[in-house]
């Protein structure tokens, strides 16, 4: 029973760790080997596009554009 708790703790620690080391930290935009990172690059591009549309709407309606 006690072992189970210790294993679970370790599981949680490992999951938290993997989430950080695989998804966070500094990203080199050049040569990323893992495919997940490639997908991320595409999303950053799309997000930038969405922001621009929003900015366009604000400009058109005459509201001031907040600094990024």
């Amino acid at each position: 029973m006690h072992d189970n708790v210790i294993d679970r703790s370790k599981d949680v620690t490992i999951l938290e760790l993997l989430d950080r080391v695989l998804n966070k930290g500094v990203i080199l935009t050049g040569d990323i080997v893992i495919s997940v990172a490639d997908v991320d690059l595409v999303y950053v591009g799309v997000k930038l596009m969405l922001s621009s549309v929003e900015t366009m709407e604000q400009l058109r309606s005459g509201k001031s554009v907040a600094e990024e």
């Binding site: 210790i6 370790k10 949680v12 620690t13 938290e16 760790l17 997908v39």
Partner: protein, 114 residues
């Protein structure tokens, strides 16, 4: 690295590790395109994006309805369009044999829009 990083916790750890597992689960939430699954893989990607936009649009519409400034007629038309969009989406999902779960791909920064 074997030390325990949990500083505070009061709940059941089983539930916890399951929960965090879902958050960081690599297998289901990644989209892996291979020569074999290229067309269904692509359908999954397209439908995920479409579903995201549809949900965003629906959410915006509900905010407007809740705002109280739309006429009955406008609400009626919104309802008709959105309902049909939802039905169309269900049809597409059935056609490609995809569940809501399948469309739950990790969208990175886009996911935060929801």
């Amino acid at each position: 690295m074997s030390e325990d990083k949990i500083l505070f916790n009061t709940g059941s750890l089983d539930e916890l590790s399951e929960e965090i597992g879902k958050l960081t689960s690599n297998e289901e939430s990644r989209l892996k395109l291979t020569p074999d699954n290229a067309d269904s893989g692509l359908a999954k990607l397209v439908l995920t994006l479409v579903e995201l936009i549809r949900k965003l649009v629906e959410k915006q519409a509900m905010r407007r309805v809740d705002g109280g400034l739309l006429t009955d007629e406008e609400i009626e038309r919104l309802g008709e369009t959105l309902m049909k969009l939802e039905m169309k989406m269900e049809e597409l999902k059935r056609h490609f044999n995809l569940t809501d779960r399948d469309l739950n791909i990790n969208l990175g920064p886009l996911g935060d829009l929801m």
